[in-house]
């Protein structure tokens, strides 16, 4: 049996059935979802795809309940993240020093959120479009990855594209 939940409408009562496979269709999925299953491409018409192609499958209510809890917390963390972003912008002021900028308390607090911050940073960076901010150090610290080509260093647009492309198959945001 397969059930589908979408962002904003998870209902725990639907999760009581044993041996139910839940397919999550949500760009708001919390980061730990990526640790639970393989990231699949989210089509614009997921209903036309096979279940395995639209999200993650969970076999037990316990797993689903845990993920539902993360869904709930995700919204709170998003608010906390946005407050830290605003605080960071104020704190860094007109500084040009990357060192000073990433040592701002608010930026360090974002890193301190741990892996939960990764999808929030990715969403923020994607939303910033052609004017991406300096999320690269935080992403390096949190993911231990470094997808930026040497010739693109300092070009934030190219760096952001490299990170988003790298993250596309590893995280959901």
């Amino acid at each position: 049996m397969r059930q589908t939940i979408c962002a904003g409408e998870p209902n725990p009562e639907r999760f009581n059935e044993m041996s139910t496979t839940i397919v999550v269709q949500s760009p708001m999925a919390p980061p730990s979802l990526a640790e639970w299953g393989k990231r699949w491409h989210l089509s614009e018409s997921p209903e036309q795809q096979e279940p395995e192609d639209v999200g993650w499958s969970f076999e037990t209510p316990a797993e689903v309940a845990y993920q539902y809890d993360l869904f709930e917390r995700h919204g709170v963390e998003s608010e906390e993240f946005q407050e830290l972003v605003e605080g960071w912008h104020i704190e860094r002021g007109t500084r040009s020093s990357t060192t000073e900028i990433v040592l701002c308390a608010a930026y360090q607090a974002i890193i301190g959120m741990g892996p939960r911050a990764i999808p929030l940073i990715l969403a923020q960076m994607e939303a910033e479009g052609e004017h991406p901010d300096q999320w690269f150090w935080a992403l390096q610290v949190l993911t231990k990855a470094d997808p930026v080509k040497e010739e693109d260093e300092g070009n934030f647009r190219k760096m952001a594209r490299a990170w988003l492309e790298w993250a596309r198959w590893r995280y959901v945001w």
């Binding site: 002021g93 390096q140 260093e153």
Partner: protein, 150 residues
């Protein structure tokens, strides 16, 4: 006030000596802007993949490293920021932190004799004197560089 920063950070920038010349844009900084590059963020961050620094120049927050970085685009040390025909000048700002002089900012002289600064991730400005952005955040001008104006 001519920009969106805290006045206490740049107490000498006023509506009388400073004009905003761009909107905020966090993709380049003053060090890049002084070098004529509005596409990258220049800084000698010790780890790769975070900011641009010219290849072969030490990734150190020292005046010498900044002079070496600007030498890659043709600038060399000169005496002061006096306007000279056919010469383009840069001023490097620095402040002392825990006993060490650390570069903080750079501005470039325009052919009008005024100066242009990118204020970190915020706006570009034009200011009448080289030292106008000085203050608690940027410290003071410590070094001038020059190259032939293109």
């Amino acid at each position: 006030m001519c920009g969106s920063w805290s006045p206490s950070d740049h107490p000498h920038l006023t509506d009388f000596n400073c004009v905003k010349t761009s909107e905020q844009d966090a993709i380049y900084n003053c060090i890049a802007w002084a070098a004529g590059d509005a596409t990258r963020w220049w800084w000698p961050f010790p780890y790769r993949g975070v900011s641009y620094w010219p290849r072969g120049v030490p990734r150190k927050e020292t005046i010498d490293a900044f002079i070496a970085a600007y030498a890659t685009v043709g600038f060399h040390e000169c005496g002061d920021g006096t306007m000279e025909s056919g010469i383009e000048k840069i001023v490097i700002f620095a402040k002392t932190t825990r006993g060490i002089l650390i570069p903080t900012h750079a501005a470039r002289q325009l052919d009008s004799g005024e100066w242009t600064s990118k204020m970190g991730p915020l706006e570009d400005i034009r200011h009448t004197t080289a030292d106008a952005p000085r203050g608690p955040l940027y410290g003071e001008p410590v070094c001038y560089l020059a190259r032939l104006r293109e």
